[in-house]
C-alpha cells in the first residue's frame, strides 16, 4: 500500500521540497499542498496517510515563530486537523512546523491543561544558528517514529527560536512521566550536553516532543536535510554512509502509516 504524504505549504514555509524528497525516499507519495487549498476544500486532509508541516518562517514569524500559521490552522483547518490527529495518523512538524504544532496546542496536546505549559522561544544565544547536532531518542517516549533509534543521529539545526521553555516547575516531570520527550540533544557518551551540542539552551536538552498517542512528533532539527550520504558534513573524511541519519524517522512514519 502506498502512503500519500501531504507536505503543507504556507506563506514563508520553505523546506517543503526537502520534506517531500525525504518522504519520497522513505517510500511515500509526497504532495506539496498549499494551506489555502485545504481551507477552501479543494483538497481533503482525510485523503492523506500522513502530514508534514515543514520548516520555514510562516507568515514571517513576526509575532513569534509559528504563531500566525498556528492561528490560521486552528481557525481554518481546526476540525479536519483534529480528526486527522485523533485518527492516529502520523503528523510531523519540523522546526517552524514544530513551533506551529506547539502554538496550535497540538503538542504536547496533553489532557487537563487549559493553559499552554510549553513553548518554543528565542535561543539562549539570541540569534539564529545553523549547525549539525547529535540526537538521541528517549526510550521512554510514546513516539512511534523514534523508537529504538541508535544514538547518535547526526542532523542539522537551523533556527533562532528553538528553545523549549516550560511554564511551571512540575511541567518537566509531567512531560517525562507521560513519555512526551521524544528526542534530546546529545554530546558524547558520559559528556554533559552544553552549548553548542544543545544549540538553543532547551530545557533538559529537549529537541523533539510528541503527543500521548505517539502519532504527532515535533522536532527542531531537520531530518529532511540528513537523508543523503553526501549531505553529512564530514563525508569527505569519514567512511561513506548508505543514507543520512534522518531518513529513518520518515521511514518509521511511513511504515507506521501503512500499519494503520
Amino acid at each position: 500500500m502506498t502512503v500519500r504524504a501531504l507536505i503543507l505549504r504556507a506563506p514563508g514555509i520553505n523546506r517543503d521540497r526537502d520534506a517531500a524528497l525525504a518522504c519520497t525516499l522513505a517510500g511515500a507519495v509526497a504532495e506539496r499542498v498549499h494551506v489555502n487549498h485545504i481551507a477552501r476544500k479543494r483538497v481533503k486532509l482525510a485523503d492523506y496517510g500522513m502530514l508534514i508541516i515543514p520548516g520555514g518562517f510562516s507568515y514571517g514569524d513576526h509575532l513569534g515563530a509559528g504563531k500566525l500559521l498556528a492561528v490560521d490552522l486552528a481557525h481554518r483547518l481546526g476540525e479536519q486537523l483534529q480528526r486527522f490527529v485523533a485518527d492516529g495518523r502520523p503528523v510531523i512538524g519540523i522546526c517552524n512546523g514544530f513551533q506551529v504544532l506547539v502554538k496550535a496546542g497540538l503538542l504536547p496536546g496533553w489532557e487537563g491543561h487549559s493553559e499552554p505549559a510549553l513553548t518554543l522561544t528565542h535561543n539562549t544565544s539570541a540569534h539564529f544558528e545553523c549547525r549539525w547536532v547529535r540526537l538521541e531518542a528517549d526510550p521512554g517516549s510514546t513516539c512511534h517514529f523514534t523508537q529504538g533509534l541508535a544514538a547518535p543521529l547526526e542532523i542539522p539545526v537551523a533556527h533562532g527560536e528553538g528553545r523549549i521553555a516550560l511554564r511551571g516547575e512540575t511541567d518537566l516531570a509531567e512531560l517525562l512521566a507521560r513519555g512526551l520527550v521524544a528526542l534530546r540533544y546529545y554530546a558524547e557518551p558520559g559528556v554533559p550536553v552544553g552549548y553548542p551540542a544543545n544549540p538553543n539552551g532547551s530545557t533538559d536538552n529537549i529537541a523533539g516532543v510528541c503527543n500521548e498517542q505517539g502519532n504527532v512528533l515535533g522536532l527542531m532539527p531537520h531530518p529532511e536535510n540528513a537523508i543523503l550520504p553526501q549531505q553529512h558534513p564530514r563525508w569527505t573524511r569519514e567512511p561513506w554512509r548508505d543514507d543520512g541519519d534522518g531518513l529513518i524517522i520518515f521511514r518509521n512514519a511511513v511504515r507506521y502509516a501503512v500499519s494503520l
Partner: protein
C-alpha cells in the same frame, strides 16, 4: 475612531535591558473585545509573556501601571516605512475573523536604568531614516506618549493628483544643472542638453514624470554609462615589466602600454569581447572587438545568456540551466545597514526570478571599515564599522533565511577605505529547466504588476546610488532606504515558478531601480507600452502619479501576460494570496505612455528613452603609485615568524568567520554538499561551497569568489588577474572543472569622472579580459557600482579602494569526488603546487606590519602556468588522488598550512628549502603569489599524483603528523612551531565582537 494599545512583556528576565513590545491598533469599528482576542490569541506567548490592553486615551495612559525604569525608550518604524510586525497583526486579525482592524504598528520599548544616558542609547538603537523614537519617564510623559502612538497611525494627508511641467526649453546651463541637482536627477550638462533639445523639437516642456523617467533610465545605475563611455586612456610612464610579458597572453596589458588609446565602451571591449572569444572563437573578431558589434552566442553554446538578461545563464546537464547574478547595495547599506543589505539580497533574488529560475543559493561579500576604528576618526554622518557590519550581516541573514535560500559562499573584508562607504555584494544562483525563460513580449500582452504594494519608499534609488555620499545624504534622499518584506517575496517566488511551468507569461522582469519606469520601459522597449497608474495598489494615499511611477517599493515583479492567459494567471495568484494587478498593455506604437486617470503623466518615444542618452567621453590617466623597486623583507627587524603567523590569523580579514556563517542557513534545500565550514569540528574555512542542485544527478556546482582591494591600490590590472585567479583557485580546490567555469565581474569604484579613478577602472577591465581569455572562463554577467565616494562638508572627497569582485560558478563532474581542505590522515604527503615568487606588495603581511602596502611587487598571475596548474590539479582530483586541497591566498603558505591544521586537528611538519633558496624565509612563508595550492596526497597515490601534475611546479614539503601542531623548517632550522590550540585561539579571536 477607536484606538487601542497592547503591551507585551517577557516573564523571562534574560535581557539586561528588558524589552517590551507595544502594538498600536486602530479601527473605525474596533471594540475592546476584539483587542482582547487579538492580545490573548495572537499577540503574546502565554508561557513566556504577559499581555495587557487598553484604549489609547490620555486617561488610560495615566492609570496604566508602568515598569520601574529611569527612562523608557520607545522605537518604531516611521509611518509609511514597512512594519512587518504590524502587517502580521493585520493578517492575523483577518485569520481570526476580525475584519474591523484597520491599522497596526509595532513599538519596541527599552527600559533603561538610571545609569544609562537615554539620548545616547536612542542614537544607538534608532536608525533615524526609517525609525522614530521617544524617550519618556514612566508616570510623567503621558501626553508625549499619546502623541507618539497616534502619529504612528495617523492617515497621510490626501493630495490632489497632478502633473507638473518643468520649464526646460528656456533653461540656460546653470538652470539645467540646478534642475538636475535639486531633483536628484544625477544628469550632467550634456545629458540635460539632450533632454532639452528633444523637448524643444517637440515644442513642449517635459512633465515631472517624463523627466524622472529619463533620469532613472539614463542613470549610472540603470544604463552603466561610464562602462559604455568613450574613454581616452593615457599613462604617465611606461611599465618596465611590459617587455617580459608575452603580448599574445597579455594583449590588454600591451594595449594600455600605447602612449594614448581610445576605448569605445569598457564592457564591449574587455568583457563581452572576452566572452565571445571564448564561446565563439571561430566567429570572434580580432582582440577587443565584437564580431557583430554586440555579443551573439552560438545556438548550442554552453553559455546560454550573457550580459542581456537580469542574470547570466549557463547550461547544466542535459535538461537544466543555471543562472547567476551578483549585485551591490552599497549606499543604502551605508545609511541603514539592516534594510540596505536586506533589500539588496531581495533585489538580486528578483534578478534570478527575472530569468524564470528558482533561487538555489546566495552569496555575500561584505567590505567594512576597520572594526577598531575610533569613533572620533569617523566622518560626520557615518555609522561605526562594527554597527554597519552587524546590521548588514543581520540583513543578509534575515532575507536569505526567510526565503529558504542557503547562503553558502562569501567573504568579509575590512579596510579603512570602506569606513564611509561600505560595500555589500549579494549574489543569487538560480536553477531552471532548459530554455524555460520566455522573452516574447507581444503587443496586446497585459502588463501585470505582481507582489507588494507601492508606497513612497525607494524613490530616487537609482539616481541616489549614482552620486557620492555626503554628511547630509541621509536627510535629502532618506526615502531611498527601505525595509524588506521577505515573505511577500517568498509568496511571489512560489507562484512565479508555477506560472513559468504552466507557461502563463511571455516575459518577466523585476521591479528594481527606477521602479515601474525602468521595468515597463525596458520590457516595452521594442514595441511600446501604456500604463494606467490609478490601478496600482498603494500602501497608503497621498502619492503623486510620478511617485507611483518611480517608487522602488520592494517585492514587485512586472510580467507580460497574453490576454488569453490572464484569468488563469490571476487565479493562480489569488489561490496563494499573492496580489496581481493588470496595470496596462504592451502596444505597437513605440511609445511609453502613462496615465493617471485622465492626466497624462508620460508620453515618450521608446527610441529616445533608450537611445537618446549621449555617449559619455571620459578621460583616464594612469599614474602608477610610487613604490620601492624591491621589497625588503627585513628579516632581522621582523618579529619571529610564529608571531607574524599568529598576528595574521587574528587579522579580521583572515580570522574565522564562523560567527557570521552560522547565522546564515546554509543547509536549506539539502543540496549543500560541501559546506562553508568543514573539518573535524566543522570550523575550518572551506575554499568553495559545492551544491548538488538536482538530487537525482551527481553533477554539482562549485561557488567561489576572488577579491583583494589591497592589490588594487598598487595596480588594478594585476588585482583583476589575481581576483580571477583566486575565484578559480577556490572552485578548482574543491573539484570544480576550470574548463567549465563561468565568471561574473562586479566593479565597485569611485567617481569615473576623475581621470585617476577611470584609469584604474580601465586597467581592471583590461585585466579581466586577459585573465578570462587565458583561462577560458567567460564572463556571463557583471555590474558596476561607481561613485562610491564620500564628500565631507569641506568638499574633500574620499574614494573607496578600487574593488573588483570576481565570482566563479564551476561545474563539478561528480560531487562524490569533491575534496575539502581539512587534513585527513597522519602519514599523508603534502605538496605545494605552483611556483612561489617574492610578491609581498599589497600583502597581508604588510597590513599587520602597518605598512601602506604600496611597497614591493604586487602578485602577478603567470597565465600559462596558472592555466596548466588548474587543469592538472583538476585532473588529479577527478581521479581521486587528492585527500585534501587548500588554496593559498591572504597570508600565503603559512596561513594556508595553519588553516589545514586547524580544520583537520592533525599536524604538519613542512620543510621550505625546496621553495627556492633565493627567497628569504619571510617571503617563502607569507608571499601571496597566486595560482598555488597545498595538497595532501596518500602515500600510495603519490606517484600517480606526481605524474598527473607533470610539467607543473610541484614541491613536496613534508607530511601530515599526529601531533596537532604546525612546524615550519627552513635553512636547517625550525622557523616556526605553533600548537593547534594557539593557532585556534588567534584565529577565532579576530572577530569576537561579531
Amino acid at each position: 475612531m477607536a484606538q487601542f494599545f497592547v503591551t507585551v512583556a517577557s516573564r523571562e528576565a534574560t535581557h539586561p535591558e528588558t524589552i517590551q513590545t507595544i502594538y498600536v491598533l486602530e479601527g473605525l469599528a474596533l471594540r475592546l473585545a476584539d483587542v482582547a482576542r487579538l492580545a490573548t490569541e495572537l499577540l503574546h506567548d502565554p508561557v513566556t509573556e504577559t499581555v495587557t490592553w487598553r484604549a489609547l486615551t490620555l486617561d488610560e495612559l495615566m492609570v496604566e501601571p508602568l515598569p520601574a525604569a529611569a527612562h523608557m525608550l520607545e522605537v518604531a518604524y516611521r509611518p509609511g516605512v514597512t512594519d512587518n510586525a504590524g502587517e502580521s497583526v493585520l493578517e492575523g486579525a483577518r485569520r481570526l475573523g476580525i475584519a474591523v482592524l484597520d491599522q497596526a504598528r509595532m513599538v519596541r520599548r527599552y527600559l533603561l536604568t538610571s545609569g544609562v544616558d537615554p539620548a545616547a542609547r536612542a542614537a544607538e538603537l534608532t536608525i533615524d531614516l526609517v525609525q522614530t523614537s521617544l524617550i519618556a519617564v514612566p508616570g510623567i510623559d503621558h501626553r508625549s506618549r499619546l502623541r507618539f502612538y497616534q502619529d504612528l497611525i495617523s492617515p497621510p494627508a490626501h493630495v490632489q493628483p497632478r502633473v507638473v511641467r518643468v520649464a526646460l526649453r528656456e533653461a540656460d546651463d546653470a538652470e539645467l544643472l540646478r534642475i538636475s541637482r535639486d531633483g536628484i536627477l544625477a544628469l550632467d550638462l550634456a545629458e540635460m542638453h539632450a533632454v532639452r533639445d528633444h523637448f524643444v523639437a517637440l515644442g513642449r516642456d517635459p512633465s515631472d514624470g517624463e523627466l524622472e523617467t529619463l533620469a532613472q533610465t539614463w542613470s549610472e545605475h540603470c544604463s552603466h554609462k561610464s562602462f559604455k563611455a568613450k574613454v581616452r586612456y593615457r599613462r604617465a610612464t611606461p611599465d618596465q615589466r611590459a617587455a617580459a610579458l608575452d603580448p599574445q597572453l597579455y594583449p590588454a596589458f600591451h594595449l594600455l602600454e600605447q602612449d594614448e588609446v581610445e576605448l569605445n565602451s569598457l564592457i564591449k571591449t574587455f568583457l563581452m569581447a572576452a566572452t565571445e572569444r571564448i564561446v565563439a572563437p571561430e566567429s570572434a573578431a580580432a582582440h577587443f572587438t565584437l564580431a557583430h558589434g554586440s555579443l551573439r552566442l552560438p545556438e548550442h553554446a554552453w553559455v546560454r545568456s550573457a550580459f542581456v538578461d537580469n542574470a547570466g545563464i549557463i547550461a547544466f546537464g542535459p535538461a537544466h540551466e543555471v543562472s547567476f547574478k551578483v549585485e551591490t547595495h552599497n549606499h543604502p547599506s551605508a545609511l541603514e545597514p539592516f534594510g540596505g543589505a536586506n533589500t539588496g539580497v531581495g533585489g538580486v533574488i528578483r534578478d534570478v526570478l527575472g530569468v524564470s529560475a528558482e533561487p538555489i543559493a546566495n552569496t555575500d561579500v561584505l567590505c567594512f571599515g576597520m572594526p577598531d576604528t575610533p569613533a572620533e576618526a569617523l566622518q560626520p554622518g557615518v555609522l561605526h564599522p562594527q554597527r554597519v557590519a552587524l546590521g548588514v550581516v543581520a540583513g543578509v541573514r534575515d532575507y536569505g533565511n526567510k526565503l529558504g535560500i542557503p547562503t553558502v559562499n562569501g567573504a568579509v573584508l575590512f579596510d579603512s577605505g570602506y569606513s564611509a562607504n561600505p560595500l555589500v555584494y549579494a549574489g543569487t544562483v538560480g536553477l531552471a529547466p532548459r530554455d524555460a525563460h520566455p522573452r516574447n513580449v507581444a503587443p496586446g500582452d497585459v502588463i501585470v504588476l505582481l507582489g507588494g504594494h507601492t508606497g513612497r519608499d525607494g524613490i530616487h534609488g537609482a539616481t541616489f546610488s549614482s552620486i557620492e555620499l555626503t554628511h547630509d545624504t541621509a536627510a535629502t534622499v532618506g526615502s531611498a532606504v527601505q525595509i524588506g518584506d521577505p515573505i511577500t517575496e517568498k509568496k511571489l517566488l512560489d507562484v512565479l515558478l508555477q506560472a513559468r511551468d504552466q507557461r502563463l507569461y511571455s516575459a518577466i522582469t523585476d521591479c528594481g531601480a527606477g521602479g515601474l519606469s525602468s521595468a515597463v520601459g525596458e520590457m516595452g522597449a521594442g514595441c511600446g507600452a501604456h500604463v494606467t497608474l490609478e490601478r496600482v495598489p498603494l500602501k497608503y494615499a497621498g502619492l503623486q502619479p510620478w511617485e507611483i511611477w518611480l517608487s522602488e517599493a520592494q517585492e514587485r515583479m512586472v510580467l507580460a501576460v497574453p490576454p488569453t492567459n490572464l484569468n488563469a494567471f490571476l487565479a493562480l495568484c489569488e489561490a496563494e494570496d499573492v496580489e496581481a494587478t493588470a496595470i496596462g498593455t504592451f502596444t505597437a506604437d513605440g511609445r511609453l505612455r502613462v496615465n493617471y486617470k485622465e492626466l497624462e503623466v508620460v508620453d515618450l518615444a521608446m527610441e529616445f528613452l533608450h537611445d537618446g542618452l549621449p555617449q559619455r567621453v571620459l578621460e583616464a590617466l594612469w599614474q602608477s603609485p610610487e613604490r620601492q623597486p624591491i621589497h625588503a623583507a627585513e628579516g632581522a627587524a621582523l618579529p619571529a615568524s610564529a608571531n607574524l603567523l599568529l598576528q595574521l590569523l587574528a587579522h579580521p580579514n583572515i580570522s574565522s568567520k564562523e560567527r557570521v556563517v552560522r547565522t546564515y542557513d546554509h543547509e536549506v534545500r539539502g543540496a549543500t554538499i560541501l559546506k562553508p565550514l568543514v573539518g573535524v569540528a566543522l570550523d575550518g574555512p572551506g575554499d568553495a561551497a559545492v551544491l548538488q542542485p538536482v538530487a537525482t544527478m551527481q553533477r554539482g556546482l562549485a561557488l567561489g569568489c576572488g577579491i583583494n582591494p589591497r592589490y588594487g591600490r598598487i595596480d588594478p590590472y594585476w588585482m583583476a588577474l589575481a581576483a580571477v585567479d583566486e575565484a578559480l583557485r577556490n572552485v578548482v580546490a574543491v573539484g570544480g572543472d576550470p574548463g567549465r567555469t563561468a565568471i561574473l565581474d562586479n566593479f565597485c569604484w569611485g567617481d569615473p569622472r576623475q581621470p585617476d579613478r577611470m584609469a584604474g577602472l580601465v586597467r581592471a577591465a583590461a585585466g579581466c579580459y586577459d585573465a578570462a581569455v587565458a583561462f577560458g572562463t567567460p564572463f556571463i554577467s557583471g555590474k558596476d557600482s561607481l561613485n562610491n565616494e564620500y564628500r565631507d562638508a569641506a568638499g574633500q572627497r574620499v574614494a573607496i579602494p578600487p574593488t573588483l569582485l570576481i565570482s566563479a560558478l564551476a561545474e563539478v563532474p561528480d560531487v562524490r569526488r569533491c575534496v575539502s581542505m581539512d587534513l585527513k590522515q597522519a602519514g599523508n604527503r603534502i605538496y605545494l603546487v605552483g611556483a612561489t615568487r617574492a610578491e609581498l606588495g599589497g600583502s597581508h603581511l604588510d597590513a599587520i606590519l602597518g605598512r601602506d602596502g604600496l611597497a614591493g611587487q604586487v602578485p602577478q598571475v603567470d597565465l600559462v602556468a596558472a592555466r596548466a596548474t588548474f587543469a592538472a590539479l583538476h585532473g588529479a582530483i577527478t581521479q581521486g588522488l587528492v585527500a585534501a586541497c587548500h588554496d593559498l591566498s591572504e597570508g600565503g603558505l603559512a596561513v594556508a598550512a595553519a588553516e589545514m591544521v586547524l580544520a583537520g586537528h592533525l599536524g604538519l611538519d613542512l620543510e621550505l628549502d625546496a621553495l627556492g633558496g633565493e627567497l628569504d624565509v619571510t617571503t617563502r612563508l607569507f608571499s601571496e603569489t597566486p595560482s598555488r595550492f597545498l595538497v595532501e596526497v596518500r602515500p600510495g597515490d603519490a606517484a600517480a599524483f606526481e605524474s598527473v601534475l607533470a610539467g607543473v611546479a610541484l614541491v613536496e614539503l613534508g607530511a601530515v603528523q599526529h601531533e596537532a601542531l604546525l612546524r615550519l623548517r627552513a635553512d636547517g632550522q625550525i622557523v616556526a612551531e605553533v600548537e593547534l590550540d594557539a593557532l585556534r585561539q588567534a584565529w577565532q579571536a579576530g572577530l569576537s565582537w561579531m
